[in-house]
């Protein structure tokens, strides 16, 4: 798809919703929608995206949409997928094919909905799960999640005198999902829209579960100027904080990340990504240098792990 074709697609997330200025969630959703191939139904976990786009009696969604609870988007997707499979078999469906999309934030995916997601993938249900990862429970006021990076300040990991931000690492959710086996897995950044759209399309076309993990900068939670959203989404990739890759039986780096793997000098320092963000500000105090180093280690070891996984198949 080129940018002209993308621009001609009908907008399926209507403007007028209440997402914050500078929020990347609607950008991700609209990019995913550019990848649709036909009749599609959306289910969503509880979160910012849900509460800000459907304030009764208004809705931004021009696709059939259902929100049930926080932890069950994948199980709800199963139900929808199975229902349309049965309708088709019984000759009761108006549609040859209905695609199912599930959207969940990091809290809904890394934490509370992890079991339902793992179960649905193990069963081989046919849907694309889109994780918009803003790295904390932003909807409830910026509390830490399994997706929050080490050292980050959140309202439940405030940089205190004894504990300077989140003590734990960011869980490698995408590698865990890939370990399920027969599932299309990809990471994406809204700064690289073409890569994101292509991956969303692959996930939709996959006859079985797909998992698209999109980094989702959040001006309120990350504490940066709202005009920098796409820049940060780009820096996350350029610094190898959030590498772009995909898995469909084998691991492959894509786009900018593939180029960095070939030419390591292209890699930017992690500081470029974290310096503009208030949530990391305390890490630049001398007494917290250890935490900053540990965060760098997390990023390096994840990147090394990816390089190994990629080289395995070469």
């Amino acid at each position: 798809m080129n940018i002209k074709e993308a621009a001609r697609k009908e907008e399926l997330l209507e403007s007028g919703h209440r997402l914050c200025a500078g929020c990347s969630e609607s950008i991700i959703v609209r990019q995913v929608f550019m990848a649709l191939r036909g009749p599609t139904i959306v289910t969503e976990a509880t979160g910012c995206l849900e509460v800000a786009t459907t304030i009764d009696p208004y809705t931004s969604w021009k696709l059939p949409w259902i929100h049930s609870a926080f932890e069950n988007a994948a199980a709800t997707a199963t139900g929808i997928d199975v229902a349309f499979r049965v309708f088709k078999r019984k000759g009761r469906s108006k549609y040859e094919q209905v695609d199912v999309l599930a959207f969940g934030g990091d809290g809904a995916t890394y934490d509370i909905g992890f079991q339902a997601l793992s179960g649905a993938i193990e069963r081989g249900d046919d849907f694309l799960y889109v994780l918009y990862d803003n790295e904390a429970y932003m909807n409830t006021g910026i509390q830490r999640s399994g997706g929050t990076p080490r050292g980050a300040s959140t309202t439940t990991t405030p940089p205190g005198k004894a504990i300077p931000g989140k003590p734990q690492y960011k869980k490698p959710i995408d590698l865990i999902i890939a370990a399920h086996g027969d599932c299309y897995v990809a990471t994406a950044s809204p700064a690289y829209w073409k890569d994101l759209i292509e991956k969303a399309r692959k996930g939709i076309e996959k006859d079985g579960p797909g998992f698209l993990h999109a980094i989702s900068p959040c001006p309120r939670g990350w504490r940066y100027d709202m005009q920098s959203t796409i820049e940060l989404a780009r820096l996350a990739v350029e610094t190898c904080y959030f590498p772009l890759w995909e898995y469909d039986g084998e691991y492959k780096l894509t786009g900018r990340s593939a180029r960095i793997a070939d030419k390591p000098e292209l890699k930017k320092p992690l500081e470029d990504f974290i310096k503009p963000q208030g949530r990391f500000r305390h890490l630049f105090r001398p007494e917290n240098k250890e935490v900053l180093d540990a965060l760098q280690d997390d990023v390096d070891s994840y990147w090394e792990r990816l390089l190994q996984l990629v080289s395995c198949v070469k």
Binding site: P39, P64, A116
Partner: protein, 399 residues
């Protein structure tokens, strides 16, 4: 067709005949036979249903929500801890007005862990907005399965239905069950018709349909939430008429009537004393009544079939003229005034014109503790005695 079936098997056969689109379930004692039997049908290609073996009860009901919202006929079955785990989605299913049907094989809630029958699991969902039916035996378990789809999917109702069968007492006991031929069952249940909703000037199916995109389950704030919940309450009150109508219709083709569908009165016309209870204990009580009647005792039974909607007026009609009423609860309401059934009956009696009967509560059978004919006779004796009564007594409890 007359067959010997356990209550669980009777449920599985009912689901098979109802041409359900999706069964999503997770195993838990004493519900397992339902899932196992249905898996047999599925693996032998005997049903045109998708069976989804989910990883938890929470996902079982969540998958039913997704499927039912897509327009499918959805069924699940659970018990005890499984229903407790579903709790969150139980409210969502009714709030979204999805006609899901669920068999609950009633079992005590932990702790301490116990696998046997009592009603604490369904009572914990009392205020969830689901229609709640308690059945007496395997036959009624089969019949209620078929009836529940009709009740839930009725366009005047559009609410989920859970029906309870006592764990082991009904679920695992082989009983005589009269089944319909497949076509006759399907003819009774029919196909699910979708409700319509008005979107601007157009009536569209209340379902997830790409042609008419609806947003289901939005954020509803103080300006709209209250009205949604009130509409839901009106629907469950309205369901009384539907339940009665379906009970009649079912009786006409089967010869089996369950009172008026909401309550069943047994030898109550000239009775002085009555028990009010639910579930399998109603069967035991009928047997005791027959024997006591043979001795000239004027005793009867009011079997409550639908705990929700609570059949207040029907119960009052049954109670009118009685001298004593014993309400039997198979679950507690800890820190409250007696058990949950007692609370409602005693509340209803406030509306009784004229002299009110003595009304007492008997808590029994927790964790599957046996309730014998002797104990039930003891309750009638207690009700009849001139001695001072405790408002709440515990039957079969060791001192």
């Amino acid at each position: 067709m007359i067959v010997g079936l356990s209550g669980d098997e009777a449920v599985a056969y009912g689901v098979k005949q109802a041409d359900v689109d999706i069964v999503a379930a997770y195993p838990i004692t004493p519900q397992t036979i339902i899932v196992e039997k249905f898996s047999e049908f599925y693996d032998n290609g005997e049903v045109d249903t998708e069976f989804v073996p989910v990883e938890s009860e929470h996902s079982a009901l969540s998958a039913c929500v997704g499927a039912s919202a897509a327009g499918a006929r959805a069924f699940t079955a659970t018990a005890s801890q499984g229903l407790a785990l579903m709790h969150e989605i139980v409210y969502i299913a009714s709030g979204l007005r999805l006609p899901i049907v669920m068999a609950v094989v009633n079992r005590a809630l932990s702790a301490p862990i116990n696998i046997h029958g009592d009603h604490s699991d369904m009572m914990a969902e009392r205020d969830s907005g689901w229609i709640q039916i308690f059945v007496e035996d395997a036959q009624e378990a089969y019949d209620a399965t078929l009836q529940s789809f009709r009740i839930a999917e009725d366009l005047n109702v559009q609410l989920p239905v859970m029906y309870g069968l006592d764990g082991f007492t009904i679920s695992h006991t082989l009983q005589r069950v009269e089944m319909f031929e497949d076509l006759k069952a399907l003819d009774f249940v029919g196909r699910r018709e979708l409700a319509k909703v008005r979107i601007f000037d157009k009536l569209v199916d209340y379902a997830l349909d790409p042609e008419n995109p609806l947003s289901l389950g939005p954020l509803s704030l103080p300006d709209y939430y209250f009205e949604h919940k009130r509409q839901q309450e009106e629907a469950i009150y309205r369901s009384s008429e539907t339940i009665k109508k379906i009970n009649e219709e079912f009786g006409e083709i089967s010869g089996r009537y369950y009172g008026n569908g909401l309550i069943e009165l047994y030898r109550i016309e000239d009775a002085d004393l009555s028990i009010i209870c639910m579930g399998s204990t109603a069967g035991t009580t009928k047997e005791v009544i027959d024997r006591l009647r043979a001795d000239g005792k004027k005793v009867g039974l009011i079997k409550v079939r639908t705990f929700r909607p609570f059949p207040k007026d029907d119960i009052l009609k049954g109670i009118r003229g009685l001298k004593g009423v014993a309400v039997l609860d198979r679950s507690g309401s800890y820190g409250g005034i007696g058990g949950p059934l007692f609370g409602d009956v005693r509340n209803a009696i406030n509306d009784l014109k004229g002299e009110k009967p003595l009304i007492l509560n008997y808590i029994y059978g927790l964790g599957g503790r046996d309730i014998t004919m002797e104990m039930i006779k003891g309750i009638y004796d207690d009700l009849e005695s001139e001695e001072k009564h405790d408002l709440v007594s515990y039957v079969g409890l060791r001192s």
